[in-house]
Amino acid sequence: MQNRPSGFGNPWLQLGLSVACVFVSELLLKRGATDVAEPDSALSWTGVNGLASPLVWWAILLIIASFVSWLYVLRCIPLSLAYPLSRVVDILVPMGCWIFLGELISAVRWCGIALVVIGLALVAKPIAKMEERL
């Protein structure tokens, strides 16, 4: 972590950018998939028809951007620290579904989401260590 680059090369800024890209890409994928949804067609289980939506292509670009900045983050910050911090996206995504996508989230679903978030927060560090060894 010595000689840490500043400005755009700052690994903490890149971690934030990576999380933001994942968050926005999830919302764009959902919006794009809904726009071109064909739930009656068996072929649509493969998701290929989703490529007809420009929003899906924007989401793909953001996924690539998040992947590049994540690789950069891992060069500077250990996985066992970076991975637990990146899990903040698990809180952002359901909030985004509620605020930006207008999804009606029932009390039961909020409780389920909360349990998953607490569980992930508990296991994030040990899982990152396991992934390092795997």
């Binding site: 649509s44 998701g47 579904c97 998953v116 040990p126 992934e131």
Partner: protein, 114 residues
């Protein structure tokens, strides 16, 4: 939720976890052996193919379900990694990991009921 949907959710997560581990193995291999060899190319190709499968299956699922419904299922990846680590690395489950995995499972059951 139909059995078919649950099947696709599990397959999309399994392919995602497998792709991550294979790509990581490829990068580790390239650190010692370089990138110009067939083994590295094969690992990257398999990793990218698995990631692509996972992406399209997710896109298919998103056409049918809320994102707030599907997203918590990503917590299952933790269960898969724990099982892989137990099988491949003979890791023992810590109390923290067990409680976390149980909470995630309970949460996913609640979400799937909603």
């Amino acid at each position: 939720m139909s059995l078919l949907a649950f099947f696709f959710i599990v397959v999309s997560l399994l392919t995602f976890v497998a792709a991550q581990l294979i790509l990581k193995r490829a990068m580790e291999f390239s650190a010692t052996n370089g990138m110009r060899n067939s083994h590295f190319t094969l690992l990257v190709a398999v990793g990218v193919a698995l990631m692509t499968i996972s992406f399209f299956l997710t896109l298919g699922l998103l056409q049918r379900f809320d994102l707030s419904y599907l997203y918590p299922f990503q917590g299952l990846s933790v269960i898969f990694i724990t099982m892989l680590a137990a099988v491949l690395l003979k890791e023992k489950l810590s109390v923290r990991l067990t409680i976390g995995a149980l909470l995630i499972t309970a949460g996913i059951v609640l979400v799937s009921m909603s």
